[in-house]
């Protein structure tokens, strides 16, 4: 580590990077300097220009002007292949592995070790094992990638990038899909890689992670660097303010009136719900005005539970009642009609018609209500859209903008607006702030709280325990497909370690707490 810091050259230096797309300039002269052996956080709201900067570093697109130096040597990349050759490796947000090939095949994809045209599989396995040894993880190079867990797949992805990344490794939101335990393993591996002299660029929305793992931070806002600092010299508030531009609003705590509402009859009752082998014996209630958090590790059945309540999975057994009436939705359409609404986990593939306008998306759940006679009223729909844009503060030119051009936070607000206009009483939220910038996340939370303050109910699934503790009134602990416990989180708050401990699978609880 010391030796690396003393070296005069930076692992990666990007100077005065400008990028112009069409008539818009998305990067206005950005500098990024990554020392060898350090972990450098790159943070910023959606649309701040992180992705574009990464694409330029990775050779996927060219900067309009600006210079890139790797280990002090000026480079120009015409393609990702050339970036690899210069020693820059990238681990993408989207998984790029082929599930039906072995680990070794994936690591050497498109760059096979071959002898006379035949792939030298043994050499590939040997080399793969060496990389895993270096990372200190145990994964068999012969295993099929599709049979590995998410965390292990990520390790394969890192190994693949690391094979060629001798100077710089870029990790784009690597913890997004990982459980708490896998995150810790990833951190260990990242530190291991840094200690071998590689400079790491670490992109994340989770600021707490950045403080835990990184040495330095660069904050982007609207295509400019607004803060570069050693993490030791800064604090969470400064970073959050730099990201959001000083407009961070306080997260809403549970409202004061909460206690009285708990005496009212439940808004949502779930009795002995079962889904195949994934969920069994799920029973709980949510009162009017209440947010019930659902905590559980990846694979505990969180998303399946929400989809089951929404009528989106077949073979559900048990009973679901909304506002005292039997609902048992047979389909999402049925669920919407009976007052349930799901904000799905992936807004791009499940929540929005990306190529359609904000207006068209907001109208989807209430097509009939926007009609005058048999005809869909464009005027009504536009009025509704303008109202929603104003209320939820969606940043856009107008309501005819296609949602694919909006930032993640604004897209999520459109999904939320759709849900609110549908007029349901029970909102089912699946990771509503995932990949959303800090400012929008706070606004979304505030909106949901305002929704419950009107006497509605919310079931909130999130893997960010910090968020869970802030928003939930009670927390349902989901483990191995069943309810382990329902704990109160109001007026007294739970702590993160407490919840982390509760959600561990029974068999490994001891081991996990020993490890941490």
């Amino acid at each position: 580590m010391n030796e690396a810091v003393d070296s005069p050259n930076l692992a990666l230096e990007m100077l005065g990077i400008r990028k112009v797309y069409g008539a818009t300039e998305v990067l206005h002269g950005v500098d990024l300097q990554v020392r060898p052996g350090s972990i450098h956080a790159l943070v910023g709201a959606n649309g701040a220009g992180k992705s574009t900067l990464l694409k330029i570093a990775d050779g996927a697109t060219a900067a309009t002007t600006g210079r890139i130096l790797v280990n002090g040597l000026e480079r120009q990349f015409a393609s990702p292949v050339e970036a690899r050759r210069s020693g820059i490796g990238m681990v993408f947000q989207e998984r790029s592995l082929l599930p039906d090939l072995s680990v070794a095949d994936n690591i050497f994809l498109n760059d096979e070790v071959s002898r006379a045209g035949w792939i030298n599989w043994r050499a590939e396995v040997r080399e793969s094992s060496r990389i895993f040894d270096r990372l200190r993880v145990r994964i068999s190079p012969a295993a099929l990638v599709g049979q590995l867990g998410v965390g292990d797949q990520q390790m394969v992805e890192i190994a693949k990038a690391l094979r060629l990344a001798t100077s710089v490794l870029i990790l784009d939101e690597p913890t997004a899909a990982l459980s708490e335990r896998e995150v810790q393993r990833l951190f260990t591996v990242a530190r291991q890689i840094a200690s071998s002299g590689v400079g790491i660029v670490y992109v994340s929305h989770r600021i707490a992670e950045v403080f835990e793992l990184c040495d330095e931070v660069t904050v982007l806002r609207d295509g400019r660097v607004v803060l570069t600092a050693a993490l030791a010299d800064t604090d969470m508030r400064r970073i959050v303010e730099a990201i959001a531009g000083g407009v961070v609003r306080e997260m809403h705590g549970p409202s004061e009136a909460r206690g009285q509402e708990l005496d009212q009859p439940p808004m949502l009752e779930v009795r002995k719900v079962e889904v195949g082998t994934k969920l069994r014996d799920i029973s709980f209630e949510v009162r009017p005005g209440e947010i019930l958090g659902v905590a559980g590790l990846a694979g505990s059945g969180r998303s399946t539970l929400l989809k089951a309540l929404f009528g989106a999975v077949p073979n559900r057994a048990g009973e679901i009642r909304v506002a005292g009436r039997r609902a048992n939705p047979a389909s999402p359409a049925d669920a919407v009609r009976k007052g349930l609404y799901l904000i799905p986990e992936d807004r791009k593939t499940e929540g929005l018609v990306m190529s359609h306008s904000i207006e068209a998306n907001l109208a989807l759940s209430i097509l009939r209500r926007l009609c005058v006679g048999p005809f869909f009223s464009v005027a009504r729909s536009a009025r509704l859209a303008q109202q929603t844009i104003g209320q939820l503060r969606i940043q856009t030119k107008d309501e005819r903008q296609a949602v694919e051009w909006l930032s993640g936070g604004n897209q999520q607000k459109v999904v939320l607006g759709k849900a609110f206009s549908a007029g349901g009483r029970v909102l089912l939220l699946d990771e509503p702030t995932f990949g959303v910038d800090v400012g929008s996340a706070a606004e979304i939370t505030a909106r949901v709280r305002a929704f419950t303050d009107e006497g509605n109910s919310v079931v909130w699934v999130t893997s960010e325990l910090r968020e869970m503790i802030k928003v939930a009134d009670r927390i349902l602990i989901l483990a191995d497909g069943t309810v382990r416990d329902i704990v109160s989180n109001w007026p007294e708050r739970r702590t993160e370690p407490e919840i982390t401990h509760l959600i561990q699978p029974q068999s490994v609880t001891g081991a996990a707490s020993a490890a941490s």
Binding site: V20, Y21, G22, A23, T61, A62, T64, F310, A312, S331, P332, A333, A335, V336, R337, L342, P344, T349, E350, G351, L352, V353, M354, S355, H356, A360, N361, A363, L364, S365, L367, R368, L370, C371, P374, F375, F376, V378, E404, W405, K418, A422
Partner: protein, 355 residues
Amino acid sequence: MPSRAKNAVAKNPKEDPDASSVAIFQGSSWREYAYKLRRALFASESSLLLVLVMLGLVIVFWVQLRDTAFMSTSNFMNIVKAKTPVAVMAVATVFVISAGEIDLSFASVPPVSGVLAALLLSHGHGLPAAVAAALAVGLVVGLTNGAITVLVGIPSFIVTLGMIGVLQGAARLISGEEAIPIVNNTYTSAFGTGSLGPIPILLIWTVGIGVLGAVVLRSTPFGKAVLATGGNPVAARYSGIRTRRIKVAVLVLSALSGALAGLLYSGQLASGRYDLGAGDLLTTLAAVIIGGTALSGGRGNVAGAIAGALLVGLVNNGVILLGFSTAQQQIFTGVIIVIAVALSAHRRGQLGSLR
């Protein structure tokens, strides 16, 4: 500077379209101008560029065929009449493709519905029975396509591919591979040769179905649901749209349009034949795609599809008048489809790179 614009985007749709032009258009006003022009050419809802090319072709024909009948009103009217069944099927196909499905069997319905109507008439049944039976064929075919697609979960592409064989065989079987003459004057005039005052009945069919289709797609909940289902079926379903019903509905519409096309063909020819509308699958798809309906679903243009049908008819007609054979004209239509799809895919790439 359309040529520069074309070069810049032709390079690689995923790449930054302005990489090369930025250096040249340093002044922002120039850049904006070129940018807007490119968007107008490639990213508008109708594939404007292709329409321009086709219109260019028509002008070439006009110059070449000045002394022939090409540009006469009567020739144009003949094209409109001849392409009425295609225009009708194109309107329904806009719904199918906008909903993210594809129907290959609609153009095989006309022989069955046309022959069946002719048979019923020749056996002394009345016009209502003949029309009802023909439309019932469409309903059954559409429901079958839809039910198999939705319940078994096979792509509509495959289901309707199989349906082609069934329909073609059925048409040969019930017709005995012979033309069945139609002597009912009301029938031939309603679906073929008649006119309302000076306006030919076939033009009324085209305009009527076109207006109906455009209104339904643009201004009814059903139309909005179709577009949403094609744009993102999961998001549409989670928004409370009954996407399976939508899929069945568009496939029924499509087969019904084929049944109607069978009536229109048999009315014009005053006979039902097992080869009615041969080659219409290709022509109809070309019309729809040229008209600006995205093959990826979620975007549809009914008026464009009708204009596309007429444009394809016009170009085909010109090609024949220029002395090319029907075979050569078929090749031409095939090439047009591929170019149209390539251009529409290109437009999406262009938009994608702006993200």
